[in-house]
Symmetry: C2
DNA sequence: GCGGCCCTTGTTAACGCTAACATTAGAGGC
DNA sequence: GCCTCTAATGTTAGCGTTAACAAGGGCCGC
């Protein structure tokens, strides 16, 4: 048995193919890569050799030798941990699959630390940056990125700037759909808790809600609406106000799950039976939605898919820029799902 | 600005790390691969350089250079999502840092789907498996793994088998400490909600609680204890029973956060003021603990660190086995913390 | 018929990492 | 005090591929 000179027992290499075809390895490489400066005759000979030896190029070596290895930065502050991990899963999967490097950087909540973390990332030589929420809406971050000239993709942002690619769901449509769901159950008095005013999605969700009401022939100006800030505590306050109204709404749609959970807690405190006396709908399908009881009807974003899409789009975007950069960054809209659980039902007294 | 000599704009390379740490690239390589012939001081310096530069080994280069790249499977059914996400973060971090591949597989709740998912993972050629709870206690899974001969590490399991490595905290001590905390606030009538009987940690937490009572001179047999199953709903039922007692406990310690959140909801429903009328303590410090209001006093496991440790131990274990396999799998105990938030205080009428 | 040009093919040097071997420094025996 | 032995670190070379440049050869125009 012939012992290999090298360390590893790889399969057929490009050199063996080259030897067999009577050309240089480089020519084989050109054939493999469909470059056009090869004589048909040479090409045929190489092809034959490849067939005979059952040669397959070693992907690791290709990646290493090729220049197209990008370095992708992912900067996050403090989104929901659940969101982040699922997102990361998708992003890592995609980047490892395509053989690119993903560098994850965490930053604090203040504008200064955000800026610092971004600079650190930029200095470490990333070619593109993925921005999950809420950073995707931070103006100063987006401005710094635009200035630096690296590619960026904003995830789950509402209204992206013109310089960045985006992956998101259609928040308007999702809220619209959820409202339709409540309407179809027979609810007419539906309260709404708005999201944080500094995030664009808040507006989109609100408008989806309002438009669905209009379309159903209801007056959106009559709908009880309270301001919330995407956290549990603001949900408690908003729920207190909404549930004190006369007549009391038969359903409440909160712009995210944390606030919906707060509505549920408040309803229980008031002795209301959910969903019999009150239906509650959330948005995001975070952990809490399935934990509490009754479990929340909510809207689910395909988070892992968004992570994959973000990386994939960023790669495209970086290639586009490297290639001269005609056109504009891509926008991608992923499909959301309405998750119907136990917190919604037909109103008891229609 | 210095222009790179090479063709591509790769990220940080092993050479840069080596330069920064003042050693040769080979030494860095040894550190990354956890080889044992490196001085702790050198290793620490290299680690620091890795951290600072955010270095991740290039997997393509590794494969090409002939090192073995392990494939690690992570099989999860449905632990708390929050636990999983943070755990995943740590596991991903560690595996990407050491340049190994992490394959995550989800399975359903039935024994059959668990078995199927495990088989799928094994067939995809993983060299080792990480088992977060509750799978780490599933006998049939552990048996199948033992039969297949791949390495495994059980996370947060109570009593591990002899064939698997484990990472966990001292549940007994943590529950003991939390009980002491409640006692020191002046509580004497403390209710307890047990965890799922099929998980060893439930017992450990219960005993920590009981022993702390005894040591304080209280009769543990007099303590009001209800069975729970680690989910919100079982917490609701248990809380109903505990809060109907006469005299009512002034504090309730639930064996996990989900059940503690249910106690909080029930207390609110009954018009009790938390923490004035009732103190509530949880366990795990999952996302829900900080989300609800008042936020829960609870025990925090260093979950991300456990993820990192699990992967790192698994790598050691796989090398150990490949190297002939003398000795036994490692056991690692990580440190927990008592997180004091707003749900506990001194009882109002002592 | 000869210089310039393009078109094809070859050569060289990486890409980032690690196996195998080489070297150094320190410990310990006699 | 010298020599061996071992543990820690460094050096060299090459994994399989391709970018960048070099070289050869045919064709054209004048």
């Amino acid at each position: 048995m012939e012992k290999r000179r090298g360390r590893s027992s790889q399969g057929v290499t490009i050199r063996e193919v080259a030897a067999r075809a009577g050309v240089s390895p480089m020519t084989v490489s050109r054939v493999i890569n469909n470059e056009n400066n090869v004589t048909p005759a040479t090409s045929a000979a190489v092809m034959a050799a490849i067939q005979e030896l059952k040669y397959t190029p070693n992907p690791a070596a290709r990646r290493l030798a090729g220049s197209e290895t990008f370095r992708i930065g992912l900067l996050y502050s403090n989104p929901s941990v659940a969101f982040l991990s699922e997102f990361l899963l998708g992003a890592l999967d995609e980047s490892s699959k395509t053989g690119h490097q993903l560098v994850v950087e965490k930053c604090g909540a203040t504008a200064a630390t955000e800026k610092a973390a971004l600079q650190k990332l930029l200095q470490s030589g990333v070619d593109g940056i993925v921005l999950p929420p809420p950073l995707c809406e931070a103006k100063s971050i987006l401005a710094d990125i635009a200035k630096s000239g690296v590619a960026a993709v904003a995830v789950a942002a509402g209204q992206p700037g013109p310089d960045v690619a985006t992956v998101r769901i259609d928040n308007y449509k999702a809220a619209h759909r959820m409202t339709q769901h409540l309407l179809s159950l027979g609810h007419r008095a539906i309260g709404f808790i708005k999201g944080h005013p500094n995030q664009t999605v808040s507006d989109q969700r609100l408008h989806g809600f309002l438009d669905a009401l209009s379309e159903a022939g209801l007056d959106p100006r009559a709908a009880p609406i309270e301001q919330g800030y995407f956290n549990y505590r603001s949900g408690l306050a908003a729920a207190d106000k909404l549930l004190a109204l006369e007549p009391r709404p038969t359903a409440i749609f909160a712009a995210n799950d944390d606030m919906a959970a707060a509505v549920l807690a408040t309803a229980h405190r008031l002795g209301l039976n959910v969903p019999v006396d009150l239906s509650i709908a959330g948005f995001d399908d975070t952990l809490i939605a399935g934990t509490i009881w009754p479990a929340l009807t909510t809207v689910r974003q395909p988070i892992a898919a968004m992570g994959r899409a973000a990386v994939s789009m960023l790669l495209d975007e970086m290639k586009r820029r490297r290639g001269g950069g005609g056109g504009t960054p891509a926008q991608q809209l992923l499909r959301h799902t309405l998750v119907e659980r136990e917190s919604t039902a037909a109103p008891s007294k229609p």
